[in-house]
Symmetry: C2
Subunit: 214 residues, 2 copies
Amino acid sequence: MTDELKSSRTELNRLPVRGHYDFETVAAILDEAYVCHVGFVTNGQPYVIPTIYGREGQLLYLHGAAAGRLLTAEATAICVTVTLVDGLVLARSGFHSSMNYRSVVMLGSAELVDPGRKEQAMKVISDHVLAGRWEDLRPANQMELDQTSVLQMDIVEASAKVRSGPPQDDEEDYALPIWAGTVDFQSPAALARPDGRVHSDAVLPEYVKNYRRS
Amino acid sequence: MTDELKSSRTELNRLPVRGHYDFETVAAILDEAYVCHVGFVTNGQPYVIPTIYGREGQLLYLHGAAAGRLLTAEATAICVTVTLVDGLVLARSGFHSSMNYRSVVMLGSAELVDPGRKEQAMKVISDHVLAGRWEDLRPANQMELDQTSVLQMDIVEASAKVRSGPPQDDEEDYALPIWAGTVDFQSPAALARPDGRVHSDAVLPEYVKNYRRS
């Protein structure tokens, strides 16, 4: 694994053993999650806004929810963070208690996707959230395309941070009669709920019936 | 419901109908989630770092993971965002497709919790992540307290954003034979996994056996 995404700004100061800077590790986390938190600055004040995203190679597309305030920010410097929470780590002391998680922090600049590429970028985001859905949708019209913003950012400066496995307690604490281990979160069950006006010819799609992340 | 947390900086520009500015709505979201994303600025660059938190009245406590870089930031202005993803909203068009979610964006200043109040703040965070665990832990020693940072922020300027329910399609799209509705996520199942060195007198605690968020 290489460190091609490492910089002085993305290098982990705290618990450096948990840091990864190779594109493969970063991409795997991005591909499993689908909600990110976008940070930007307006009048010196940082804002953090959740939105959905998609990835096409080294390009990250952000859905326009964040675009409003972000595009009025004084600079296009953004930070996009993606976090997967895998479980609780219950050590015998609070100090060694933790979470199991996989997170990615990406630094870069946001720019609007060109109008000519916007629909493709929207498909990338849609496919990322729910593969198969795009093909079933009523196609977008020009008004809808005009009203939707998609941002893009190159993934060139980033770090991943990963913790997994059982707690690591101080040696003497293993003698204490305290239950310790992890609470591992499973992928949440998903319940399909049709709205009240589904057409009688419409069938429940496989991508809904078999919905599962990761 | 009052708008006591509203400001020109937290007021929603986009889809204002989804905005809430009363403390009760904000607090309910904060109390169900336990991971937040903290935004701060260093050298003009925003950073967004995930960490766990707890709430004591109007005071938010942030676990020290974020403290390192944050405390070297040029200003103490931060943004703390909490997001709960409740499901996918599958409309008949991409334009009306969405997510069901509850999120909170809080603006304020971070400061270190006084050493004399640090242990209480750590208990608030621990109780928030897993009520009951704190009492079972081997107590913290002075070295551990010294090495742990806890930040606090007053919750005085914030907004909540909430979407729930089925898609709202354009009237003519209801005639299309496209399945539409929501994919509702359930709370994830949690599997307790003891580490390999649990003392023979230790029993699986009820708060692990019956782990459930919300």
